[in-house]
Structures are given as structure tokens and as C-alpha cells.
């Protein structure tokens, strides 16, 4: 008797834990079968740690100038050498991680949320909003995207905030299109009709029933897009938009180092450039890995 009453609860518990362990097993399977994805996760964790604690860990003040130590090659004291003002390149590269990640994460987050909302409404209700947003996205895509970002920053004013907004705008079409496609194929799915019949409002259905199901492809898009967002933001600061010297930021550090490369002082541009490359590389690998995790059919 007592067994019978406990069984359903136990079964439910076992089911939940098995779902978790299945998920974890799948995660572990993806990680071990594709060590590259594992490396990407480790790199990402490292980058986040550096972004959070980097400024506390660096050996030198990233803004402190030492005129007598200008343009020294990498040494035991200065691992990545010093720049034209005698600042420690290693410290600057580390400290810049936070700003670079902050710019790209906020830009991508902005376009993720706006794009998801826009695409979801367009895909769910269709009609004039769908047409209008479709036109708007087409117009954005009609520009070479980096050029459009330049135009927006030039017009709206040369600030970091506008770099974020411009990067968000040029990334908007990618998210809105994925969200629209994913929502519109689900808007009449069985579980949606069931939810509608049981009296849920349309907005509630969209937010609680459909959107969670569109998250996996959106997350993959997010990760693949992140690297591109970093490249764009760094490109904008490379041509002198947004971040002002003496702020440490990878794009502007490469730009400053560019003047010294023809005379052979390679370390000024190489290290921030390599950091940038590593960050983009991490997100690209992660995107491929996430795609494997989310969708086993598209495994490459």
C-alpha cells in the first residue's frame, strides 16, 4: 500500500533527474566528442574572469605613462612590451577586455531583444506590422552594414553609446528574421491551439508558449553573431569612432600601433589584435558547438 502511494512521486522525481542527467550526458557527449567546443567554453570562461577581475590583476596601471620606457619590446618586466608613451601593453590588453565585451554584449543584447520582439510580433500576427517591419529590415540590409554603422555614428554623435546602438541596428535583421521564421511556423501548432482553446490570451501564448521554443535557434544566432559584433565595434574604434584615447580598447590600440608597424615595433598592434582575434574565434567556435548541442541534425 505505502509503496503504491509513493510510486508516482518517485517516478516523477526519477523522470526529472533523468531528464537532467540526459541533458548533462548530452552536454558531456558534445564536449568530449568535440574537444574544440570544450576549449571554446574554457576560453569563454577565461574571458569572463578577465573581464570581471582583470583590472585588479594587472601588474601595471594601464594609463600610467613612463617616457623613459617608451617602445620597449616584450621583456620579463613588460610581457607585451610598452607603447609609444611607455604604457604597459599587457595591462592595457587585459583591462580592455571588459570594455570590448561590454560594448559587444550590450549591442548584441539590445538587438536580440528588439529583434526578437519585432520578429515575434511580425511572425505571430502578420498583417501591416509584418509588412512594415519587413520593409524596414530590407532597407537596413540594403546598406553595406559596416558603412551604415559608420553613418549612424557619424550622424548621432561620436560616443561609445552610439557605437552600441549602431552595432545593434545593423545586427537587428538577423535576429528579427530568425524570430519571425521560428514564430510563424509555430503559431498554429497543436500546443498553441490547445493553449488558445483553454482560454489563454494571444499575448500570453506568444510569450509563454511560443517564445521559449524559439530560444534554441536564437541562442545559436546570438553566439555566431557575437564575434561579428566584436569585429564591427573594434572596426569602428579602429577608424577613430567611439572610444577615445587614452582609454584601453583593442580596436584603438591596434590603430595606435599601426603607425609603428612600418618601423618594426610589432608588439603594439600584435597583442591587442591577437586578443581581438581570440575573442572572435571563441565566439565562432562556441556558436558551432551550441548548434551541435541544440540541434543534433545540423552537426557538422
Amino acid at each position: 500500500m505505502t509503496d503504491a502511494t509513493y510510486t508516482p512521486q518517485l517516478a516523477a522525481g526519477a523522470k526529472r533527474s533523468s531528464a537532467w542527467s540526459r541533458g548533462f550526458a548530452h552536454f558531456r557527449y558534445v564536449m568530449t566528442s568535440n574537444p574544440v567546443t570544450f576549449i571554446a567554453f574554457v576560453l569563454l570562461a577565461g574571458m569572463i574572469v578577465i573581464a570581471l577581475f582583470g583590472p585588479m590583476l594587472v601588474p601595471h596601471d594601464p594609463l600610467a605613462t613612463l617616457a623613459d620606457k617608451a617602445l620597449k619590446p616584450p621583456s620579463r618586466e613588460h610581457w607585451f612590451g610598452t607603447d609609444q608613451l611607455g604604457r604597459d601593453v599587457f595591462s592595457r590588453v587585459i583591462v580592455a577586455t571588459r570594455l570590448d565585451l561590454l560594448i559587444s554584449v550590450s549591442a548584441v543584447a539590445l538587438s536580440f531583444f528588439v529583434g526578437a520582439a519585432m520578429g515575434a510580433c511580425a511572425g505571430y500576427w502578420g498583417g501591416w506590422f509584418d509588412k512594415l517591419s519587413g520593409r524596414l529590415l530590407d532597407t537596413i540590409m540594403a546598406f553595406p552594414l559596416f558603412v551604415l554603422a559608420m553613418g549612424i555614428v557619424a550622424a548621432a554623435g561620436n560616443t561609445i553609446q552610439n557605437i552600441v546602438i549602431a552595432t545593434a541596428i545593423i545586427n537587428l535583421p538577423f535576429y528579427a528574421r530568425v524570430a519571425r521564421a521560428e514564430v510563424s511556423i509555430r503559431r498554429n501548432a497543436g500546443y498553441v491551439q490547445a493553449a488558445r482553446l483553454s482560454g489563454n490570451s494571444e499575448l500570453r501564448i506568444l510569450i509563454w508558449k511560443i517564445l521559449p521554443n524559439t530560444l534554441p535557434p536564437m541562442m545559436v544566432q546570438l553566439s555566431l553573431n557575437m564575434g561579428w559584433a566584436i569585429l564591427n565595434a573594434a572596426g569602428l574604434s579602429f577608424i577613430g569612432l567611439g572610444v577615445r584615447p587614452p582609454t584601453a580598447e583593442w580596436g584603438i590600440m591596434v590603430a595606435e600601433g599601426a603607425n609603428y608597424i612600418v618601423s618594426g615595433e610589432w608588439w603594439l598592434a600584435l597583442f591587442p589584435g591577437a586578443a581581438l582575434m581570440l575573442a572572435v574565434f571563441t565566439f565562432n567556435l562556441l556558436g558551432d558547438g551550441l548548434r551541435d548541442l541544440v540541434d543534433p541534425q545540423r552537426r557538422t
Partner: protein, 339 residues
Amino acid sequence: MSQLAIILARVLQAIPTIFGIVVVTFLLTRALPGDPAAYFAGASATPESIAEIRARLGLDQPLPLQFVDYVRDLASGDLGQSISTGQPVATELLRRLPASLELTLFALLLSVGVAVPLGVLAAVRQDSWIDQLCRFVVTAGVSLPTFFTGLLLVYVFYFLLGWAPAPLGRLDMLHIPPPQVTGFLVIDGLIAREWGTAWSAFKQLLLPGITLALFTLAPIARMTRAAMLQALASEYLRTARAAGLSSGRVLMVYAFRNAMLPVVTTLGMVFSFTLGANVLVEKVFAWPGIGSFAIEALVVSDYAAVQGFVLSMAVLFVLLNLAIDTLYTLIDPRVRIEG
């Protein structure tokens, strides 16, 4: 529908797109925080002079009227006056356009010339070393910031090896530019039979061209490989093989031709990236194209110049996409059967 009708329909489709571009560039100039009149009047302006400038620029008119004025100016080729050079923006852009086009087209030729064979070979010999090479190039290509690749190439080939000339523009000081025919210095040099000049211009073009090509290599190679794999696994190819056609003919005529269709479509996206990356490469190599002009204009907040640059790049992009779609119609075998 005949090919011509399809192409015509496609040209008509470009009109709303161009209209959208004009609206956006207009909004970028007019509906912004801050007062352009106060900006144009400068720091020492009095309220009267600002009002005068506002009337002269037509900024006291309602927005739709301003838009009509803007479109009328554009139709007559007037993009406004550049503050930094004092010349009309359209003249400045036209003068620098050949330099940018030379670089962009050279880079695209180079990257298509390398990426397409690479992608095809990677698909044909799947999981061989060439497939691994293709995979490496694709992954590295999308992660490399263009400006960084450019600087690395300058360091290695100019500073260390001394093979490349200094990254300072299109032609070194020793040569005088050949008489302008196409605006492409290499071709103009050849036309004028000034071999030394043409060679020198080519050497200057090589590094920035490679930089830009490396950047566009990745998407083209990836797309070629994927499309070729799909074509190789298709049923019509199995039929062609079963019918006893030679493997070269199967590969080059049936598989390659069909695989090229999605590749041509991706070229549109590649152009978008190339025109953007062009700006960065021009800055690294001091290339006197419209990208460098735009950067100079950005630094001194030369408003009209930047807007003219954005507009002309967007129109260029639309035209390139149009050319691609026309090409697509011409190489698509299905269109021919229907027509």
C-alpha cells in the same frame, strides 16, 4: 518568362530599395538630435546667422518639403559641399571611386579565384588534407579582423622581408600616374605602355588586395564546399554517372554549374562585408579611395561628405546585387528550359 523579362523585373524591384536608402540617408541628416544649422554656422555664430543658415539650407521648411528638396538635389547629382575640402562631395567621391573599385574588384577576383577551386576540391576530396585546409581557412577567415591581417602582412612583407613596397597609397613617388582611361592605375599603365608604372601600381595593389581577399575567402569557400557536396549527393548526378558520362564532365558541367547558383547568391552578402572592410583596408594602406575620404570626413565631422559616402556605397551595393541577380538568371539552367 524569358531571361530578359526576369532581369527587367529585377531592375524594377531595385527601385523601392533605392527609395528606402534615400529616405534613411535623409533621416540620418535631418531628423537627428542637435541643430545642423548651429553646427554649420560654427562656434562663434549669432542667433541671426544661425537663422540665416537655417533658411538657406531649407531647414525652416516642414520635413516632407525638405525631403522633396533633398531628392531634387540628388537627382541633379548634388550631394552637398564638403567642409574639409571645399569641393562638392559628388566630385570628391567620383575622383576617388576608381581607387576603391580597383582594390575591391581585384580582391574579389583574387578571392573567387582561390576560394572556388578550394571549395570544389574540398568537397570532391572530402576529409582529405585539402578539406582540412579549407576548414582552417574558413574558421580563421571569419575570425581575423581585416585591419589586423593587413598590419600583419605589412610587417612581414614590408618590414621583415622587404618584398612589398611601403603601404603608402597606389603608386610610389618615382612614377607619375599614367593618363587616365579607366581610372585603374594598373590597366591605365598597361594601356599607356608604361610597364614600370603598371608593375609598380600592381605591387602597391597586391598587399591590400590580399588582405581584403583573405577576408572574403571564407564565406565563398564555405558556400562552394557546401553547395558542391549537395550537388555531388544529388540524384541527377547519380543519373549522369549511371549514364556513363566521364567523371570530369559530371563534375565540371553538372555538379559545378548547379553548385555555383547558391555561391552567386552569397556573393551579395560578401559584397556587403567587402565594401565595409574596404574602409578599414584603405586606412591601413593609406589607399586614396572613398573609404579614406570618409574616415577623414568623420574625423573633422564633415557631415555632407559622410552622408554622401554612405549613400553612394549603398547605391553601389544595390547595383552590385542587381548585377549578381542578372548573372544568376544567366547561369541558372532552369530558367533556360522555361524560356
